[in-house]
Amino acid sequence: MSLTLFAVLLPFVAAIFIPLLYKWLRSVHTGWFVFVIPLVLFGYFLTFIPDVMNGNYYYHSISWVPTLGMDFSVFIDGWGLLFALLITGIGFLVVLYSIYYLDKKREALHNFYVYLLLFMGAMLGVVLSDNILVLYVFWEITSLSSMLLISYWYKREASIEGAQKSTLITVFGGFTMLGGIALLSIITGTLSIQEMIAQADTAVNHPYFLAAMILILVGAFTKSAQFPFHIWLPDAMEAPTPVSAYLHSATMVKAGIYLVARFTPFFGGTAEWFWILSSFGLITLLYGSLSAVRQKDLKSILAFSTISQLGMIMSLLGIGSAALYFDVPNEIYTGAVLAAVFHLFNHATFKGSLFMAAGIVDHETGTRDIRKLGGLMTIMPATFTISVIGAASMAGLPPFNGFLSKEKFFMALTDVTEYSIFSIESAAIWFPIVGWIASIFTFLYCAIFVFRTFGGKFKPDNFSKHVHEAPIGMLISPIILVTIVVIVGIFPNIISPVLLEPAIASIMQGVPQDHPAFNVDIYHWHGWELELFMTIAVVVLGSLLYATMRKWENFSIYQRERDPVNGLYDYGLKGLVSSSKGVTKLQMTGRLKDYLSFISVFLILLVMYTMFKFDAFGLNLAGMSEITVYEAILVLFFIVSVLAIPFIQQRVAAVAVLGFVGFYIALFFVIFRAPDVAMTQLLVETVVVILFMLAFYHLPGLRKEKDKPTFAFPRVMISVAVGITVTAVALGANAYQQGHDLIPISNYQVENSADLAGGYNVVNVVLVDYRGLDTVLELLVLGIAALAVVTLVKLRMKEGEDL
């Protein structure tokens, strides 16, 4: 196994040892052991940079489940490497942060870190797997570990609910995606993403192409919290803050982005891909930013902010995909992709720091409610600084990295108006407008986040504990992140050739690498372009809104914190449960007669339908044996006696008539030359009659039966139909038999019974020799029944007496 493969598996392997380390070395915070792993991996992945920068990629594969085409293959190109570095880089920062955030005495650290490592490994697997099915495997593990982390404080109702919601939604997406994956494998005959991309030209004409696209996108959208699937993300904030910082802003939620970008070479260049991504992205962007403004909880603000930013990246990928429509792309089209990749990176840094800051506030004050917070600026200056930088970057203010990517974003949106493909003409104008409005609100919630927490008056009564600045250990990680925010903001081109260009190259595959469009050169000053005016307007209008906040914060729409889309989820879930109950109650009535009715009706319909469909009715009177007078009389009386049974109201009488019926049947067996059967029938019938009598000792008399009028007629109909069905098939089978002259296997048995088995009574020879197994088993059945009766009669236990 190559080292790279092991790198992906390392977190999983480590996870196995965590509980042991936790148990044996209680005095050391378990996080320290964990910390090493992402750190080492980060270092390891850094070593790939030179190679990848040069446009190479790393590929290694071992076979796992070849029957399904699953190879455990590691594929490292620019796009994957960017993610791997994010995962491990943010990873060790988060672990470091968590060491101070989670108390080693009170918290179940072994669980926490196992989940975290599970996630880390899975996430690496997602971004480094070339085999889409293996990617899917890791994809679901990320959902699962996310669930476990959200439910980490499993005694809290909200944690559990949040975990459930996030899992249901993301796994819904996952399962949908699985369908898409299957379609992809059918379309292309491979599970390797790179091999699929190689077939992109022909695949587009495949009838499954669009379906596969939509299914894959549903998976990506749920994971990346795109409207209307976004609702799980705010509820996921119940997880410990390190988790929110890591999974729910920096990494996992970007898995959808990763996937969309990864598949852009395959699906990109089509109108559907363009429209779906850009419109869902923009809606999410707008919706997220509008919603974030309403939130009163610091982490909720950040959650909606994340949703909004993810929407933004998604829309950029959509816009950028247009590049693939053309054989020769130009900068207009690739710019969006650059913006997407760049913002993805930036978002990880500033959002990570903001989450950590929010966590610190929560940790030190015991609350995240902005209505209670305020005036922390002086008490927690470091945290304040971190928050200001992070928020400013998020709001798109210079000189931070967020400003740069936001500018690129505006540029991409305005460029769309110049497109002339995908019948975009009339709609294009909405792109910049929506983006711009969303940015205003982004500015606004950033302001709320910072000033409501750190500005204003400090109200000590609101807090249950003494408030002070966080320990330095907790501050290190966010400080590192804001440092990156600042440095990249000032010197963006540090990362652009190293990380961004290779990533874009991966996404824009099929486009010549030396094309000028790939020259990623990020600069601050574009001149007085439209984008700059847009930014200025954002700041002005945003400030204005914040200033007038007192006026509009009493609007009811502002008061309503809970996302109305949740109503859909709640309604859906409630509806699911209640309709399940309804459906189940309808069929699982607990009444035997209902069950038998359903079964019988199904039997009748299915058999009769088949009879008609295959014209299987038949009646061959000529081939039948003759009917003598006395037989006719016997049969007539027999039928009468059978028909009479339901009408008999005395139980002993009913049994007597049953005895008649049984004896009649024995007589039929005689008439039809079956002496052994006749004897058995007689004996059994008599014993059964006696058994009835024995049981009657305990049973009540028969009552007159009164069916509900709604059941009386169906009951008769069902019974009659069952009878007719049996008879019709019997006659059909008989006619069929007459029509085909087959020699039954019993001929052999008759011919060889005396010579080969030494018996003249062929029936007995069949029983003890030809079909001896049947016979001993039938004895077994009878014996079991006998022991069963004994058990039923003698053993009586109470409910719950044992397990």
Partner: protein, 144 residues
């Protein structure tokens, strides 16, 4: 039972004494006859049960239980085992399971007769069926 009928069952008892034995003999006969004539383990076994049942019908449980202190559950086990194990005879000589063997022998006085493993097999059935039928009847009857 609320009713306390005192009954003299003279006729019934006397007749049962005769018929029960006849049925028992018939049962044995039917068992042996089975291979060549109607009958066999099942029928014989059920007849066996019937003859004992008749005793129970005529007399009472206490009396018959004392007279025939049988553990019918063991009959079942034994019956099943006999039938199953007879089948193994074949495997010893390399034939498939449940292979039955037979041969004709001549003994002075008795004349020619047939020995067959099938009879042994059938005896298991006989025993098991008889035991089963009886245990069923008695279990329900005793539940008072």
């Amino acid at each position: 039972m609320s009713m306390k009928w005192k009954t003299n069952n003279l006729l019934f008892i006397h007749i049962t004494r005769v018929t029960a034995f006849l049925i028992l003999a018939l049962s044995i006969y039917l068992f042996f006859a089975g291979h060549n004539n109607p009958g066999g383990g099942f029928i014989g076994g059920l007849m066996l049960a019937t003859s004992i049942l008749l005793l129970y019908l005529t007399f009472d449980r206490r009396k018959i239980n004392k007279m025939l202190p049988m553990n019918y559950a063991n009959w079942i086990g034994a019956g099943i085992l006999i039938s199953l194990l007879t089948g193994l005879i074949g495997t010893i000589v390399g034939k498939p399971y449940l292979t039955q063997f037979f041969d004709y022998f001549t003994l002075p006085f008795f004349g020619e007769f047939e020995l067959t493993t099938a009879v042994l097999f059938d005896f298991g059935i006989y025993l098991g069926v008889g035991g089963s039928a009886l245990i069923i009847i008695l279990a329900i009857a005793e539940d008072t």
